[in-house]
Amino acid sequence: MLETIGLIFIGLGLAFDVFGCIGMVRLPDVYLRLQAGTKCVTLGTCGILFGTFLIMGFSAGGIKALLCMFFIVLTNAVSAHAIARSAHKAGVKMWEGTIVDHYAEDQGEKK
């Protein structure tokens, strides 16, 4: 039973990882690719690791999977934020379809 649920989690995780990779290729600029590359992969990888944990239980491998989940959730958010901010500060152009950029407006006022 647990094994089946674990396999379902792994399957879902793989699906979201694939969507993330497709997004990396299809989306037009840094910020949008960042979204596909970090977020979809967070849920995907966490799903795979959680499935692994369900199948292996509280053994050596299962506990390591849980720890990896924890660290992925911690680091992904921070790294996504850091990359987005530094890209904006470095003046990476946004896609021409971008509607509005309040951040650039407010930064412009300060200078």
Binding site: F16, F19, I22, G23, R26, L27, D29, Y31, L32, L34, Q35, A36, K39, C40, T42, L43, F58, S59, A60, I63, K64, L66, L67, V73, N76, A77, V78, A80, H81, A84, R85, H88, M94, W95, G97, T98, I99, V100, D101, H102, Y103, A104, D106
Partner: protein, 165 residues
């Protein structure tokens, strides 16, 4: 105090990585944890406030906030997957400013990281004095530019205000 906390955290992580920890692993872990504390001494930590030592808040965070967060995360993931797979790529990206009422460091950190972690929005920067969060959105509706980001931020904010203010 800070060193003890870092040391304990490192040692626990070490023990979990060596599950089930035998005597050998337990003994080796102590000098390794001490080494990590020594090497990371120059990294400035935030101020340790009283909020860190109230287990009730931690429990509410885990059992009230986390389920809602993961549900939002899942919903947003499905939405982003739909936008990515759609042949015409229906995206309208924008950076919008969102006001936040949170004042404490830990609350702001958790809010910004939650927004970053949910697909479709990334927090780009935070204006601490004015309490403004700059959010990059994958899709904004044509009539109401900052509506999507605002709804999402407020959803998390409502709970975080209760827990951390």
């Amino acid at each position: 105090m800070k060193r003890m906390a870092v040391m304990t955290g490192c040692y626990l992580t070490w023990c979990f990585f060596n599950w089930v920890p035998g005597l050998q692993a337990l003994i080796i872990g102590l000098p390794v944890a001490a080494l990590v504390v020594y090497l990371t001494e120059n990294i400035p930590y935030g101020k340790v406030s009283a909020l860190h030592f109230q287990p009730g808040r931690h429990l509410r965070f885990i059992f009230h906030y986390m389920p809602i967060f993961w549900w939002e995360h899942f919903k947003a993931n499905v939405e982003v997957a739909y936008r990515v797979l759609h042949p015409r790529l229906p995206i309208r990206p924008a950076v919008v400013r969102v006001k936040t009422e949170l004042k404490t460091d830990i609350g702001l950190t958790l809010l910004a990281n939650s927004v970053s972690l949910v697909p479709g929005t990334t927090s780009v920067d935070l204006d601490h004095e004015k309490g403004i969060l700059y959010v990059h959105c994958m899709y904004v509706s044509p009539t109401d530019v900052d509506g999507v980001a605002k709804r999402r931020v407020q959803r998390f904010e409502k709970i975080l205000v209760k827990i951390f203010e």
